[in-house]
């Protein structure tokens, strides 16, 4: 995520001139069944050392002008060196240009997972100690992935993953000149050492491994980053490919599953007089905000307590001050975390914090694109080891389920098992419940009320209105 080159400008920008209608958010990358629909487009950029691969990659990103682009550098996958190799490297005698210097297996795993839309941890290579640092770069959610490296086209399995292969071909003299300047001026090494490395490793590697790999390239870009025509052609092709992959999720969600029986994974809070009375307050359009907040909070507390009762429990014996052993119950789950779907889901965070001491809270921002009516992913921040947690996913209302499905997809991409997710809401429309249960049958769906319909603006009927607007007081003024 931190690495992806997304632009989080507040206003949505439309790139109609390039015909890729993307705004700052990430459109759906999965279909109605929750499966992956859109594979990210993976561009490989190969070429000799100092040929300008990174410049080409950066220029492509700039001209693409779409969010959610990730660069993966092959340099991150250098093998960890042992003591002896480390010393050889210090004397410029270790061959960093040979295919064996790379952890190809890890590289393939990472690229494969990225293509599957999963979260990956990319190692950070330390050139001083020649080992990996303890921290890693988390990458997630790219529509376009650029993979660059000198030996990008060397391995047959990597080649298969690449949707487009670009070879940057720069004159050998220019490459040597750049290399000398970079290593001597920027990295403070001596001329003798740089030349020795160039002649014994860099040049032979180019001739043996890199130059022959040019045969695999779809496009060969002479002069690297200065070749504007080549970059424009590449960008055009990528846009065309992305457009072909466009997908309308919400529309399809809204018409599927009419008249089906309600799924087993749905748990509705018992409709007591209090629950119904609370609903009456928050559904009434004339309820002042102060009361709206108070009564919706009461309802949230009840629905969160209810969601917790659906976790797995087992018998637990304790000693009492009265001197007898009491057999009660204890939750089997130690790690529970809350994840709210911004903005309306955030209102439920307090309730979950009030019942679970010191609970961790993740956030996912999903907004509806006004032009396409599709949900788009804008932002996410989740606990690093979220796969080890039971997740209480919170959104105040669920209409078509489009946002919830996107959020669940994000959690699955982060390796949270489907059965460990509970989606908790104050109000859901039947249609949304069907769609979510169809896509993710193991996700527990918990709500305090179920409404039969949604209207053409995808609001639940009779419903609650725009929950976030009413809670935060951001309703448009001209409503009356």
């Amino acid at each position: 995520m931190s690495q992806s080159n997304k632009r989080t400008t507040a206003e949505s920008i439309l790139h109609a001139d390039r015909r890729t209608i993307y705004t700052a958010g990430r459109p759906p990358w999965y279909n109605c069944t929750g499966g992956q629909e859109v594979e990210p487009f993976l561009i490989g950029i190969g070429g000799a050392s100092a040929s300008g691969k990174t410049t080409v990659a950066t220029k492509i990103i700039e001209s693409l002008n779409i969010p959610w682009v990730t660069i993966v550098s092959m340099d991150s996958f250098y093998k960890v060196l042992n003591e002896k190799q480390h010393h050889a490297a210090m004397r410029n005698e270790y061959n960093f240009d040979h295919p064996d210097a790379f952890d190809i297996e890890l590289l393939i795993t990472v690229l494969q997972r990225l293509k599957e839309g999963k979260k990956v941890e990319v190692p950070i290579y330390n050139y001083v100690t020649h080992s990996r640092e303890n921290r890693t770069k988390t990458m997630y959610g790219a529509n376009v992935i650029i993979f660059e490296g000198i030996l990008a086209f060397y391995n047959a399995d990597v080649l298969k993953l690449l949707d487009m292969k670009v070879f940057v071909d720069t004159d050998a003299d220019i490459r040597l000149a750049r290399r000398l300047r970079r290593d001597i001026v920027q990295r403070g090494r001596d001329l003798e050492g740089v030349l020795k490395q160039y002649l014994t490793h860099v040049k032979p590697a180019y001739q043996s491994y890199i130059a022959p790999s040019m045969a695999h390239a779809d496009i060969i870009v002479p002069r690297g980053g200065d070749n504007h025509v080549a970059i424009a052609l590449i960008v055009q092709h990528v846009h065309k490919q992305l457009r072909l992959r466009g997908f309308k999720v919400r529309e399809k969600l809204a018409v599927a599953h009419i008249g089906q029986p309600l799924p087993d994974s749905l748990y509705v809070l018992k409709n007591t007089p209090q629950v119904q009375g609370l609903h009456t307050f928050i559904r009434n359009k004339d309820t002042p905000r102060d009361e709206f907040i108070f009564y919706s909070k009461r309802l949230m507390r009840l629905v969160i307590e209810f969601a917790l009762s659906l976790m797995p429990y087992s018998d637990h014996e304790v000693d009492t001050p009265q001197g007898f052993a009491y057999t009660g119950r204890k939750c089997d789950v130690e790690k529970i975390c809350g994840v709210s779907i911004l903005r309306a889901g955030e209102t439920m965070e307090q309730a979950v914090c009030d019942v679970c001491k010191d609970i961790r809270i993740g956030k996912i921002l999903i907004q509806t694109n006004q032009q396409t009516d599709e949900p788009e992913l804008y932002y996410l921040r989740l606990p690093k080891d979220i796969k080890d947690y039971r997740v209480v996913l919170m959104d105040a209302t669920v209409a078509t389920g489009a946002a919830a499905i996107m959020a669940i997809r994000v959690l699955l991409d982060h390796d949270v098992p489907e059965r460990h997710i509970s989606l908790v809401s104050l109000l859901m429309a039947e249609i949304g419940v069907h769609s979510i249960a169809y896509a993710f049958p193991e996700v527990k769906i918990v709500t305090s009320a179920l409404d039969p319909e949604i209207n053409e603006k995808f609001y639940v009927l009779p419903g609650i209105g725009n929950f976030g607007d009413r809670y935060f007081g951001t309703e448009p003024n001209d409503e009356e």
Partner: protein, 223 residues
Amino acid sequence: MEIIDNDIRQWDANDIKEQFGDNLMLLPSNDNIKELQTILRDKNTSRSDFKFYADRLIRLVIEESLNKLPFTDCEVVTPTGALYKGLKYGSGNCGVSIVRSGEAMEQGLRDCCRSIRIGKILVESDNDTHEAHVVYAKFPEDIARRQVLLMYPIMSTGNTVKQAVNVLTQHGVKEERIILSNLFCTPAAAQAVVDYVPKMKILTSELHPVAPNHFGQKYFGTD
């Protein structure tokens, strides 16, 4: 069925209905609620945890007690312009807590009903005879016209509650307009109270022969 059972076990809703009739009700149980009860029973629970989990259980008991209050049907218009058939709570309720442990439940009531009036009763019981005397009582003036939510978390003999109900009826409150909110109750206390005021509604979260009598001490930290 024997009231005092020799084997220590919990009563379920069916046993309760058979033995005590319809006016004694059990909070519909689930694993989450059982876990809260287990934590409160555990002698190794820290005081901070004790208070935290007690407050959670109290909130659930209060929410359930409020369900016993009267309401009327009503219709409202939602922001989408649709009709919603809901209901409206009746007005004219008040809370009464029995000092001291009953006061632990006041916050839970306040969290549900922001401006509800709350009266108090202080009952002191003789350590030897277990006889209870009312020492102090302060109520809203018009309590005779109100529904009363009487709060007292632990009942072992029922003597305290019997005295509190006496005071309320002396102030003109009708027996059937009192709802007792309780966390832990012994079958003996339940029988004693049901026999004494058969029309009062009682809601408890657990019926068990041994009451966790350390509740007040531990909740307020005076042990």
